[in-house]
């Protein structure tokens, strides 16, 4: 059995035959996971300096030189690295007095902060499978982002207390601005909000739970929703980027809704982080600094806030180390442009816009396939894994340790 590190569900039941240098047989992989496994055999990186192929030692030495001479380096990425590599990365940031931020910055961080601090009640996905009778996907579309979420945990499986499952015992609701693929599964239970209208919608639910007439939405449908929530025995809310962006970091209103729901019944919030070890990075950095991301160690002091995010740091730092991430593809144009002007060091298994713009490229093993380690699933469950391919490529952890030694 292999693990899939294609998303944060970390499916551990994968059967894959990669013995002849290609993915010849696969079982239990979703389409996203299949792409992740197939990617092991295409568009791999080589050690490069200034666009010319070099040996690994030269690339590592040049990376160390850039970081050593930088006054304000940025260390970015981390969501696709093991806990072991993340730990070295955080130590490296501390040693360099650098700013450190992650791939999911501003996408899930405010929600994760609220969950890790205990302000929002949470649970494992195994509890969802065993107990949940109501699953609410809010600004989330797991059919596209976490494809096996519904089949492994939140809708279809027969759990301990939910043997009749989706046929009789589970209800699936979607709150979204559109008819997403997940919403199409539970059409009559799609609650459409206007873009940015989630806070107003939460207020309307709180009103209905308190027996008042809601100010927004179809009143009859809102009252039906209130009844369904009150009748729920064990509910779970899965907030996606749609909700987090809409609330603009203001988790207080969501916390208020959960507090109200939990006066009536049991309701949990289970995050849906994107990358396979986003949560691991958040937990490690929080343990060290009290913050999940956007941290600077400059001058030996810990600073945290929007000024320490990649968006701001890209414009103020003088070098950047990017690990397992392609910010030139995924971040706004101006931020990508600012990063591209810096001496970039990219540690990545795959060619990307970022590796193509980097001064130094260091190839790394793909975690889960070519390197073992530990990761934290989106719901907080820690999972250890062994590699299934002997590729002879160093893992992020080893590369970072070598850079640290060279510095």
């Amino acid at each position: 059995m292999a693990i899939c590190t294609g998303c944060s569900l970390l499916c551990q039941d994968i059967e894959a035959d990669v013995s002849d240098g290609r993915l010849s047989k696969a079982k239990n992989l979703c389409r996203k996971g299949h792409g992740h496994f197939q990617a092991s055999f295409s568009e791999r990186t080589f050690p490069m300096i200034g666009g010319k192929q070099v040996d690994l030692n030269q690339a590592i030495a040049r990376a160390a030189e850039i970081l050593r001479s930088a006054k304000s380096p940025l260390l970015f990425g981390w969501s696709n690295s093991t806990l072991e590599a993340q730990r070295v990365g955080i130590s490296l940031a501390e040693k360099l007095g650098a700013t450190i931020d992650d791939t999911s910055t501003f996408c899930q961080d405010s929600l994760m902060e609220s969950i890790l601090s205990g302000n929002l009640p949470s649970s494992t996905l195994d509890d969802v499978r065993n107990y949940a009778d109501t699953s609410i996907f809010w600004g989330a579309d797991p059919s596209n982002s976490h494809p096996r979420h519904l089949s492994r945990f939140s809708y279809y499986p027969r759990g301990e207390k939910r043997q009749k499952s989706y046929e009789e015992e589970r209800t699936c609701l979607v709150v979204d601005v559109r008819m997403s693929a997940t919403a199409a599964l539970c059409k009559e239970n799609l609650y459409r909000v206007s873009p940015g209208g989630d806070a107003e919608f939460i207020e309307a639910i709180i009103s209905v739970l308190e027996g008042k007439i809601p100010r927004v939405g179809d009143k009859k449908k809102m009252i039906e929703l209130g009844t369904l929530l009150k009748k729920t025995e064990w509910g779970a809310i899965f907030p996606g980027p749609g909700l987090v962006y809409s609330l603009q970091g203001n988790m207080e209103i969501l916390e208020r809704l959960l507090a109200r729901l939990n006066e009536i019944t049991v309701f949990k919030v289970v995050p849906m982080v994107g990358h396979f070890n986003t949560r691991g990075f958040y937990e490690l950095l929080r343990e060290k600094t009290g913050h999940v991301n956007r941290v600077s160690f400059k001058g030996g002091e810990i600073a945290h806030g929007p000024e320490q995010s990649v968006m701001a740091a890209a414009k103020s730092c003088d070098a950047a180390l990017i690990v397992g991430s392609d910010p030139l593809s995924s971040l706004p144009f101006g931020t990508a442009q600012a990063l591209a002007r810096l001496p970039l060091i990219a540690i990545d298994p795959h060619r990307s816009l970022t590796t193509d713009a980097a001064e130094v490229v260091i190839p790394s093993a793909i975690s889960g396939l070519e390197a073992g380690g530990t990761a934290v699933r989106t719901d907080g469950v820690k999972i250890e894994f062994e590699p299934i391919i002997e590729a002879g490529i160093p893992a992020d952890e080893q590369i970072l340790k070598r850079i640290m030694e060279a510095i």
Binding site: K32, R178, Y245, G249, P306, F333
Partner: protein
């Protein structure tokens, strides 16, 4: 004619799969360089599904393919998260440091007949300046 629309960035499993395999493939380009429009909006700019559209705002401009939505959402359009959509996303943030991925204002109109869908090499050149 050009129509001012609000664009929301979404995820798609087919595009995600293509992107994992290669950022430079035709498959990734065809799954990424597109805008999903409401039927009424598509007709409003005098375009049809599959035609090339110019999407432009203060941040940048791209040529992408039009896709007809199966849903109804006049005034709203959807693009998949990619280097193409990011050409239109401002790096200005709200107080909490969050950029506006969920409501990008842009003008959408049919592209000139000679225009090609923006290539990823062109996007990388723009980023590198």
């Amino acid at each position: 004619m050009a129509l001012e629309l609000s664009i929301i960035i979404i995820r798609d499993i087919f595009q995600d799969e293509a992107g994992k395999k290669s950022r430079y493939s035709e498959e990734y380009k065809s799954q990424s360089a597109l805008i999903i429009l409401d039927k009424q909006d598509l007709a409003g700019i005098g375009a049809k599904e599959g035609e090339k559209l110019l999407v432009k705002n203060d941040v940048g401009s791209i040529v992408v393919s039009a896709r007809l939505s199966e849903d109804t959402h006049p005034g709203l359009a959807f693009m998949r998260s990619s280097p193409w959509s990011n050409q239109l996303v401002s790096d200005a943030t709200c107080e909490a440091g969050i950029p506006g991925y969920k409501g990008i204002k842009a003008a959408v109109q049919p592209a000139e007949a000679s225009a090609a869908v923006t290539d990823i090499s062109e996007i990388l050149s723009r980023i590198k300046g």
